[in-house]
Amino acid sequence: MRHLVLLVTLLFTLGMASAAWSEDLIMDKDALSSMLSEPDLVVLDVRTGKDWSSSEFKIKNAMRAPVGEYKDWSASLPKDKTLVTYCA
């Protein structure tokens, strides 16, 4: 029982930590919308196949960056700019 409590506590702590960590990394659509005209912003559309082609919502000037080809496009990204990836 003690092991179970310990495991649950550990999982809870990990979950909280990941949520706290990701808070800074996730951007909502309103925040992104207000930044779209900024020159330092690079939007990466990581969707592929039907996930990309079936969607009507495609951000203008977003760069296609398929997840499977990460090695190909990641090296060419500017390090000094804000990079935003979106998948839906």
Partner: protein, 417 residues
């Protein structure tokens, strides 16, 4: 009234499958890419499909009175014929369903309910189709009729609106049009589905097939013309959703809503129609002792469950997000085209067929066969396309050989048939 209902059921399966969102995408891209050749290629494709339908369904012909398996068995042999039927139809059902249900999910999420998960909606549709097909075939056929009526109504409103009004902005100059034999030949793929006439009280299968081809021909030519009037051809060619682009240009937000209905109902009708027809295909395979029949509708139900589970797995494992789905889907379409070509040629080679029908069958069969070969060997991704098609055919061959081999080894199994 009963005769009318039976006729509507017979025609609703091919029409529903031909109004698939994948076909609408191919239609929109072709209308932009092929330019003025588009109209000629669609008309030529309709004529070839008409001749093919006459060959395989004409009541007086040998082929019209027997199912495709009997004809193919006499034409190219029992196992090669059955495996072509099974591989073409099964690959089409699984891949088309995976593709169009995801498209329908996105349409529902982005057009109607933003908070509703697209995959959740795709699974709901799959569940609805499976339940209808499991409970009663008559439920599935009634659902098919309703879906086709909704699709045709919404499409007709968009078409009439597009034909009666003029574009708000001048879209000239056009451009980006090409003359490509492979692209023009691809128009034949727009009509695949006209052969899906189920066995019913409607003995004459030719009339529903002709009604389906004529209806789709009218709709596609008019929609192509409307799309070209409202949207620059380069945008039509490059768009991944040319039908939605055109609908928005014609009627704004209302156009999006109507096209959303067309996409969702069309996708559901495609999958439901293919499920209904696959039920008939496995039953025919059991009649030819290539699958166990189990008695009653058990085999059909089992096939429905297995197909739905496979489609669910394909969706969950992310096939929709894999760019190769387009290649696999195209491969399934080409196998289907090849199946039609072989059916026409098999009919033409029957000694009892009149010379007149023999020539018609040869003409349609050769055109379809050559078209499929042209597309196989000129496609950008031809290696994957050819390998996929060969593997699927080999898989079909294996499937139809397993049961007869088991019966041979264990004769007691014959009782199941």
């Amino acid at each position: 009234m009963v005769i009318m209902r039976v006729f509507l059921i017979s025609a609703s399966i091919p029409i529903g499958v031909m109004l698939s969102p994948e076909t609408l995408i191919l239609l929109g891209n072709s209308a932009g890419y092929n330019g003025i050749i588009f109209y000629m290629s669609v008309a030529a494709a309709a004529v070839v499909c008409f001749i093919c339908a006459c060959s395989i369904f004409y009541p007086g012909s040998v082929a019209g009175e027997e199912n495709e398996l009997s004809l193919l068995t006499r034409g190219i042999g029992r196992f090669p014929g059955a495996s072509l039927v099974l591989s073409a139809r099964l690959a089409m059902t699984l891949l088309a369903a995976t593709s169009v249900l995801v498209i329908a999910g996105y349409a529902f999420n982005e057009i109607f309910l933003y908070w509703f998960p697209n995959f959740g909606f795709a699974f709901l549709l799959l569940g609805l189709i499976l339940i209808c097909n499991l409970l009663r075939v008559s439920w599935a056929t009634t659902l098919q009729m309703l879906l086709v009526v909704f699709t045709l109504l919404s499409f007709s409103i968009l078409l009439i609106s597009g034909l009666l009004s003029a574009p708000a902005t001048d879209i000239t100059p056009q451009g980006g049009e090409h003359v490509s034999l492979a692209a023009a030949a691809g128009a034949l793929l727009l009509f695949l589905g006209f052969d899906l006439i189920i066995n019913s009280e409607q003995k004459n299968k030719l009339i529903p097939a002709i009604v389906a081809i004529s209806t789709i021909f009218m709709l596609f030519v008019l929609w192509g013309a409307v799309s070209r009037t409202y949207v620059p051809t380069t945008s039509l060619t490059e768009s991944t959703l040319p039908h939605l682009t055109a609908a928005r240009a014609v009627m704004g937000q209302n156009g999006r809503l109507l096209m959303g209905i067309v996409v969702i109902c069309g996708a559901t009708a495609t999958v439901n129609g293919l499920f209904i027809y696959m039920g008939q295909t496995v039953r025919n395979l059991a009649v030819h002792e290539l699958l166990p029949s189990f008695g009653g509708d058990t085999l059909q139900r089992l096939a429905g469950i297995l197909m739905a589970v496979t489609i669910g797995i394909l969706m969950m494992t992310g096939l929709a997000g894999d760019p190769k789905l387009t290649v696999y889907y195209r491969g399934a379409l080409l196998l289907w085209l090849l199946l039609l070509a072989v059916r026409c040629l098999a009919m033409a080679c029957q000694p009892t067929v009149s010379k007149h029908f023999s020539i018609l069958g040869l003409a349609a069969g050769c055109t379809m066969g050559i078209t499929s070969i042209i597309i196989w060997f000129t496609a950008e991704y031809r290696r994957d396309l050819i390998v996929f098609s060969l593997l699927v055919y080999a898989g079909g061959l294996l499937l139809v050989m397993v049961w007869p081999a088991m019966v041979k080894l264990f004769p007691k199994l014959k009782k199941i048939n």
